[in-house]
Subunit: 255 residues, 2 copies
């Protein structure tokens, strides 16, 4: 039997000064990381960058060449610091265009008298872009080639991603099995774990120690990858290793 896994990789660009200043804690990476793993398009790089034209353009150009899919969040609202759309247009070398269906949608929503110049900016999309519907605040994101531009507000981003997901080309889902053990340090498990990694080079075998304020410590050991039979075998080997080292293997996340 030959195993066919289709490996597709993605990158995420979080655009906005508020994360870099520590004002806002990023809630979008974890959501997208899990969803993209399930879709078989796992995240391989995330960049958090400021609302700076040259930085955004350089980042989009670089990452869309390096990854199958690129997602962005942030910078598509009506204010002066919302510059993602023109930057993505420039990264693709296409003009921003008045998008009539979006203009009509927003004009009806805000009313003619409140649909001011700032809000009208949200009705301009790069030439050739496909809108990503926004059921919450209406102004859409868009896909252009392999770049998918979404809002930064987590609730809106999640709604946009739900609309985008069915259009994405899927790969083989990532399977992950976790064992926890308390009161063992990873240094005691390291040698055996490396041997397991060497048995399954197509997987990520990870070791994540924890040290709580209350003195509780231990390690989470994870087998992860797109070859599900190998993930299951490696997880079984990890279980055996923990028991052989004198620990009690606990499956899943005990917290």
């Amino acid at each position: 039997m030959t195993l066919t896994t289709m490996t597709r990789h993605s990158a995420l660009i979080l655009i906005g000064n508020e994360i870099l200043s520590g004002r806002t804690r990023d809630e979008n990476t974890q959501f997208l990381a899990k969803k993209l793993g399930e879709l078989g398009i796992p995240l391989r790089e995330v960049r958090m960058i400021p609302d700076t034209r040259e930085v955004i353009i350089r980042c989009v150009v670089e990452l869309r060449a390096a990854f199958d899919e690129v997602f962005t969040t942030g910078g598509i609202g009506p204010t002066h610091d919302d510059i993602t759309s023109p930057c993505v247009a420039e990264a693709f070398g296409v003009p921003l265009e008045h998008h009539t269906p979006t203009f009509t949608l927003l004009e009806n929503h805000f009313g003619k008298e409140n649909f001011n110049a700032a809000r009208q900016r949200m009705a301009y999309l790069p030439q050739g872009a496909t809108p990503i519907e926004n059921p919450i605040s209406l102004a859409p994101g868009f896909s252009l080639g392999n770049v998918h531009v979404m809002a930064g507000v987590p609730r809106i981003m999640r709604a946009m991603f739900d609309n985008l997901a069915p259009r994405l080309k899927k790969g083989t889902p990532v399977l992950s099995i976790t064992w926890h053990v308390f009161s063992l340090y990873e240094g005691s498990l390291a040698e055996g774990l490396e041997a397991i990694q060497n048995l399954y080079p197509q997987l990520d075998i990870g070791s994540y120690p924890f040290h709580r304020e209350n003195g509780i410590y231990g390690v989470a050991l994870i087998a992860k990858g797109q070859d599900s039979a190998a993930v299951q075998k490696a997880a079984s080997d990890i279980r055996t290793l923990i028991a052989a080292t004198g620990g009690e293997p606990i499956q899943g996340e005990p917290f």
Copy 2:
């Protein structure tokens, strides 16, 4: 009077598959972003990358050339996926060396019989590195040139950063003043806000809408920068703008 602000910029590299897979939510960026703003070395870019040799090396080389200081978290433990130290050594073109004081410290801590090959790896540092003390689990981080390598476990990272901070060359602290307003959309404030940004080009004037599940919405408007007199004037202008648009300006974070 001339104003002298010393602008120093930093970047952060979060190394580890566990954030990219969504297993772990990043807790380190927000802590470091705030601390580095206070020290006048604000974060300008964050990258989350996997435990992959070429990616780590390329990232360190690129960011240490582009920024005054570079911080890394993750990948300095005893297991096979902890490869940050050799990668940083390679990025600087120096060998990894047996670091005798660290070796002695860890050997005394674990005891000779438990100080196995995996744990001994933590006593190797790049040639010329200065250890960053780790009061919790003892194995140190290190500084090499403008690159500062810390643990990924948040509690250990924070303790290491507290030890590192006094050695960092400081810049002018970043001051930030926030106004909130409920029940206004940023589209109504955008034009006035852009005019304020144009008055103070040395500042970041930011607009951050929020939309809660319970239907509550509004905007946070922020003046931020290293020119504290200008930040105060811009914040006062923002307050006036909110009131003139029919909103009630609330200082700080009302949540």
